[in-house]
Structure formats: structure tokens, C-alpha cells
Amino acid sequence: MPKSATVRIDQTRCIGSGQCVLAAPDVFDQSDDDGLGVVLVPEPPADLLPGVRDAVDRCPAGVVSLEE
């Protein structure tokens, strides 16, 4: 069985920039209440991981993490 990967956002320092949404729209969204980043798919399949890695790199607040 392939090991799963877990995506998290630490909302305490998120600035609601939406970079994660641009990088991986299938995995991230922004909350309608406060614009902060939210994870839609906490354990994304392998084909979505490149986008997630891009989000980790682009997040200006450095709060997106991927544990593989």
C-alpha cells in the first residue's frame, strides 16, 4: 500500500493570500468567513502532490506543510 501524505495549514499565521488555491485548486480553498486557507483534501492522492509541493513553496506565510 502506498504511504499516504498529509497536508496541513497552520491558520494562526495564514494571511489569506490564496497562493495555495492558485497552486493546487483541488486541494485548497479559502474560507468564506475569513478568507483563510483551508485544506479540502487532507490526504491527497499522488497526482495532486506536485501542486501541493508548489503550494508549500509559494505560501508567503510559510504555513502550508506536507508530511510524506
Binding site: R13, I15, G16, S17, G18, Q19, V21, L22, D29, Q30, D33, D34, G35, L36, D54, D57, R58, P60, A61, G62
Partner: protein, 397 residues
Amino acid sequence: MTEAAVCPVPHENRVHPLGAPAGFEEAVSNGPVKMIWPNGVQAWVISSYAGVRQVLSDKRFSSMREGGPEMRTEGEPILGLKQPGNMNSMDGEEHLRLRRPLSRAFMVKKMNEMRPRIQQIVDDHLDAMERQGAPADLVSALCLPVPSLVIAELLGVSPEHQELFQSTAREMFGKNGSKEVYDAKAAELGEVLAKVADEKRASGTTDDMIGLMVNETDFDSEELMRLAIGLLAAGHETTSNFFGLFALTLFERPDQLEILQRDPSRADVMVEELLRYTIGRLGGAGLSRRAVEDVEVDGVTIKAGEWVTVTLRANLEEALCPNAGELDLERKAVAHLGFGFGPHQCLGANLARTELQILLRSLFTRFPNVRPAIPVTEMEFREDSITYGAAAIPVVW
């Protein structure tokens, strides 16, 4: 202790209007250097991709920039003051308190909802250009009015005051303007906005940004006023200048323009490449911070209390992408630093992106033969502003 001689920061005399100030690249090519700003303040300049990201995102660098390096030589500073509502000069919780409620208004999905409206505004202006016939000035016909109308709508202010928005923005970003003139403009605009705020309070709306600030935040009236003026100003000058710079860049590169015209549906990715390249190529020393403790960056120690600036020339570094010095509209989007990085990364980035995408696609499909009426090197550029751009772009088609 004697300090090594510190050179003045090169900040004008661009060899090419779309390139860096003369001597700048050479000055920063060997890693961090200290330079002296026109207002007499010394600051380090960091130019590597990793170093710029570090400075802009490390908490040990503060954004409180009062007394810091300035391009102004005389007169009191206008930007960078520690004032209520000036989120760009704040750190930590104080900064987040002002920024967070506004980020909701710039969410990616909100910007996507705005697309049809922005397209309509762009089309109206292209129609007008066509009706009036060539030659036209791209800046006054398209680059400036489009972002100006869009930001006014987002804030919820009537466009009849456009001229006042534009002149206040010019004073705010002017390098040599007087603080008195700016204060008078800001006061005039403040009166207009105070009336608007009263109307929003009465109606209870949260559909636009002023409504949102009035009815859903704890901002006091001074904070609200400064935030609204800041957003109006930032919403004008930046997108407008950059769209002009994009057009000029493409006029010089018919091979790249052809790539755009072959597949305008990729305008979103192409805007990222144009931002990366035009901003990197303009170079120059930009965003400033101050070390609150000793920090090592790119092999030097920035001591507590020292000023540090970053140059977005880092966008042309190989560490970011191969052939980084070249414009390549076929490139996939990379994590460029055109909007900065860290907690102060441009609040309006998603709006600017959306506007630039629609402008780029629409201008060059509607007028496939648009071209400059005079050589780019003969055009007038605004060196007197911290938001650099062409004063006018005469075009024919």
C-alpha cells in the same frame, strides 16, 4: 572604528528604460553590500533569491520603517510612517489585525467572480480606443482608467472622483513631492470617503470593502480612512504601470508576442512570467526592513538595528528557474517575488493578476497589430515616483 567606503545606491539613469539603474547590477553582483540612500541612511542590499525570501519572511526583520532608507532627498516622508492604518509598517498581531479582514475581499474566488465585470470595463475602453482611432495613448486610454474603476468599485466609491483618486496616488508615491501637498489631497479624499463610510454605516452593507470595514471590523475612523486611501492609491499606480511595462516589453519581443497571440487562453501563466521578468529586469533596491537581532543572510551578519533592503532582481536568478535572465512565455508559472514574500506579500496580488490577465488577453487579441508610435527609448518615464512606469505610451494599430 572605520567603516569601508559605502557607495550611494544607484537609483536612476537607467541605461534602458526597462532595465536597472546604471551600475546597480554590478554593485550587487558579489553578494550583500551596504549602500547609502538618498536620504543619508545606510542599508544592506540583498539580491539572492533565497536571501530575499529570508529577509521578507523572517520575524527577526521588522517592517517598522520609520527613519529607514528612502528614495526622497528632501522633505518629510509620506510612506513608511508608523500611523494608524498603515499596515505596511507594522509587525505581528498589529499587522494581522488590519490585514486579515481585508484579505477576504481579495480571495481568489471573489476575484474570479469579478472577471466578467473587469472584462466589461476593459472592453468599454477598447471600444473607445477603436472609435477614436489611432494614435492613442495606451496609458490614459487603458492602463490607468481600468484599475482605477475596478478599485473604486471594489471599495464601493463612485467613479466620479477618479481624478482625485489618481492625483492622490501620484502624490503618495512621488519621490520628491511635498508632504503638505499630499496631506491636502488626502484630506480632500478623506472627506469624500467619510461621506461614503456614513452611507455604508446607514445601509449596513458588507458587499464592498468600505462597507466591510465599517460594518464588520473594529477599525476606528482614522484607520479606516488611511486604509481606504492606501488601497485606492495602491490599486491605481501599480497595475497601471505594470500593464504599460508589459506592453512595452512585448513590443520589443515580437517572438514572445506571437506566443501570446497563438494561445491567449494561457494569459494567466504568461502574466506570472511577465511579472517575474519585468520586475526582475527593472532591478533597483526596493523593500526595506530592520533587523531586530543579529541575523545571518547570504554569509554576512546583519546586526540588530541595521537596515536591510531587498532587490527583486532576484527574479532573474537561476535558483528560481533555468534561463532566468530570459523572458519565456512558454515557461510554467514559478514562485517569483514580484509581489514580495512573507506576511506583507501584496494584499492586492490576486486582483492585480486578474486585471493584468484580462488586459493582456484583450488588448492583443482585439488589436493584433498594436505597436508603439515612437521608439520605446524616446518615451517619457516616471523616475520621480517609487512606482516606476511610462508617462505615456503612444500607439498605433
